[in-house]
C-alpha cells in the first residue's frame, strides 16, 4: 500500500504539491509513482526563472529502465530545482515527499492547486487505476 500524506494535494499524473507558508508550492512525485518507476538513477529539474504551464512537462526522472516526464501541476514561475538530486537521485525513491522533491514554483494563481486531488481522492484514484 503506498504512502499518501494527508497534507498534500495530488495530480492525475502522480505529482504531489505542498504549499509553503509564503504561498509557493513544492512539487515531487508520489510514493506510488516512485515505486512504479523502480530504481531512479537520474533527474533533470527545471531552472529558476522558467515559466511553466499546468500540465507542461518540466522535469524528467529516469529509472534504470526508462525516462519519464514530470508535469507541472500548476502554472507559474519556477523558483528552484532540487540540485541535490544530481548526486543522489535515489532520494526520489527513498524520500519522495521530503528530500526527493523536484522543484518549487510560484503559482500564478491559487486556483489550480486547490483543484488538485486531496489525499483521500488520490487514494480512490489509485484504487480505480489498479482495477
Amino acid at each position: 500500500m503506498s504512502n499518501i500524506p494527508s497534507d498534500l494535494r495530488y495530480s492525475k499524473s502522480h505529482e504531489w504539491v505542498r504549499r509553503a507558508p509564503d504561498g509557493s508550492l513544492e512539487v515531487g512525485i508520489s510514493d506510488h509513482a516512485q515505486s512504479a518507476l523502480g530504481d531512479l538513477v537520474f533527474a533533470e529539474v527545471p531552472e529558476a526563472g522558467r515559466k511553466v504551464h499546468a500540465g507542461e512537462a518540466c522535469a524528467v526522472v529516469e529509472s534504470v529502465k526508462a525516462a519519464s516526464d514530470v508535469y507541472s501541476p500548476v502554472s507559474g514561475t519556477v523558483i528552484a530545482g532540487n540540485t541535490a538530486l544530481a548526486d543522489r537521485p535515489e532520494l526520489l525513491n527513498q524520500e519522495p515527499y521530503g528530500a526527493g522533491w523536484l522543484f518549487r514554483v510560484e503559482p500564478s494563481s491559487a486556483d489550480e492547486a486547490a483543484a488538485l486531488m486531496s489525499a483521500a481522492d488520490y487514494a480512490n484514484y489509485l484504487a480505480a487505476e489498479a482495477r
Partner: protein, 361 residues
C-alpha cells in the same frame, strides 16, 4: 495475459513486478533492480529464462545442416557438451537470431534461441532442415534457469547427487554436461561465472526454491539487461536485427569465413560487406549527466549514428551504451538527449567483467 513459465507463480508470490517480454509474462524485478544487479556481480543471482526456446536437432547430416544454417562453424566444436555462439542469417546477411548451439552427440545438437524470435526461427530451421533429413523438435517441456555470479556454481552443484557434484564443478567455460535429466552448462549472459540449467519443467519450482534456500537471489529481466550491457553482450532486436548484419553489430568474431568452402546462408552478402567496409560498432561512456537510451542520435566525426542499447551501469555508476557509428570510431562523440548534445567517450566493450570495471571512468 501472456505466456507463463513454470516459475510464474513463484515470481508473483515473491512480489515480482511482472512485464510483457516477447509475449511472455516475466519478472522485471523483485523490488530493486540495482540490488539484484549487484547481487550477481558480487555474490549469486538467478534468472528464470524458461521463455527462451530450446530446439533439439538430430540426424546423420545434422552437422552439415548447421554448417549451412549458421554463420559460425559448428565444426569448431567436436565433443559432447561443447557450446558455440552464432548468428543465423538471412541470405542478405540480416540477423534472424543469435543463439547458442550445444553438441549433444555426433548426430544431435541443441539450440537455445530468443523468446521473441522462436516462432520465426523454427519456421526458418524447419524449412532448411528438410533438405538434410534433420529432425527438428521444439522442447516446450523444458525450463531454463541461469545461476550467475562469483558464488553461483557451488550452490548449483549442491543440488546434484554427491557423485555428480565434482563433475559439475569441473566444467570449463562454455562446456556443458548431462546430469540425469538436467543439462548444465557453464555459460551465461552477465559477464560473470555461473551455470545455465536446462531441466524438465516439472522440476523447475523445486530447483528454484532449493537455489533460493542456498542463498541465491532471484533477479529479474531488468538486472539481466544492465548486466549484459555492462558485459558488452548484444541484445537481439536492439543491437542486431534483420536489417543489420553481424559485421556492423560487433559480431565479426562470430562469423567463420574459414574454411572458405563452407557455404553458409548469408556468406556472399557478408563477403561483399566486408570488402565494402561499413559502420563501426562501439561502446560509449557518457561524460555528462544523463542516461543513454536506444535510438538516441550519435554525432561522430564521420557522420551520424545511433545508440542501439543504452542505460545506467550500476557497477560504474555512469551511463553506458552500445552504438553503431560511421567510421572513424574516434575517441569521443556527442549524443543528442532531449534536444541537448552531451559528450561521450568511445570505448571498447566490455565495460565490466567478473565484477571489475574494464574501462576507466
Amino acid at each position: 495475459m501472456g505466456l507463463k513459465t513454470p516459475l510464474y507463480e513463484s515470481h508473483v508470490s515473491r512480489g515480482a513486478k511482472i512485464v510483457d517480454f516477447g509475449g511472455w509474462d516475466m519478472p522485471l524485478h523483485y523490488g530493486s533492480q540495482i540490488e539484484e544487479h549487484h547481487a550477481v556481480r558480487r555474490d549469486a543471482g538467478m534468472f528464470d529464462v524458461s521463455h527462451m526456446g530450446v530446439i533439439d536437432l538430430s540426424g546423420g547430416r545434422v552437422r552439415e545442416f548447421l554448417q549451412r544454417l549458421l554463420a559460425n562453424d559448428v565444426g569448431r566444436i567436436k565433443n559432447p557438451g561443447q557450446a558455440l555462439y552464432s548468428c543465423m542469417l538471412l541470405p542478405d546477411g540480416g540477423v534472424i537470431d543469435d543463439l547458442i548451439v550445444y553438441l549433444v552427440s555426433q548426430t544431435e545438437y541443441r539450440l537455445v534461441v530468443n523468446a521473441g524470435t522462436r516462432d520465426k526461427d523454427l519456421a526458418w530451421i524447419r524449412r532448411h532442415a528438410a533438405d538434410f533429413d534433420v529432425a527438428v523438435r521444439e522442447r516446450r517441456d523444458l525450463a531454463m534457469i541461469a545461476v550467475q555470479g562469483p558464488n553461483a556454481r557451488v550452490p548449483t552443484a549442491s543440488l546434484l547427487d554427491p557423485a555428480q557434484r565434482a563433475a559439475a564443478l569441473e566444467l570449463q567455460p562454455f562446456r556443458g554436461a548431462e546430469f540425469g535429466p538436467w543439462f548444465i552448462a557453464r555459460t551465461g549472459y552477465t559477464g560473470e561465472d555461473g551455470f545455465e540449467i536446462i531441466l524438465p519443467a516439472v522440476d523447475a519450482v523445486e530447483c528454484w526454491n532449493a537455489l533460493q534456500a542456498a542463498g541465491v537471489r532471484p533477479a529479474g529481466l531488468g538486472a539481466r539487461d544492465t548486466l549484459r550491457l555492462e558485459a558488452g553482450m548484444n541484445l537481439y532486436g536492439n543491437d542486431m536485427d534483420e536489417h543489420h548484419h553481424p559485421l556492423e553489430s560487433g559480431l565479426s568474431w562470430t562469423v567463420a569465413f574459414e574454411p572458405g568452402g563452407r557455404d553458409f546462408i548469408g556468406r556472399e552478402a557478408l563477403e561483399s560487406a566486408r570488402r565494402a567496409g561499413g559502420l563501426n560498432f562501439v561502446g560509449l561512456l557518457l561524460e555528462d549527466r544523463g542516461v543513454l537510451r536506444s535510438h538516441q542520435k550519435v554525432i561522430a566525426a564521420g557522420g551520424v549514428g545511433e545508440v542501439t542499447s543504452g542505460g545506467f551501469s550500476p557497477t560504474l555508476n555512469r551511463s553506458i551504451a552500445l552504438a553503431r557509428i560511421p567510421p572513424p570510431a574516434g575517441v569521443s562523440v556527442q549524443v543528442e538527449i532531449r534536444g541537448k548534445l552531451l559528450g561521450a567517450s568511445v570505448v571498447k566493450p566490455p565495460f565490466v567483467r567478473h565484477g571489475k570495471a574494464l574501462i576507466s571512468v
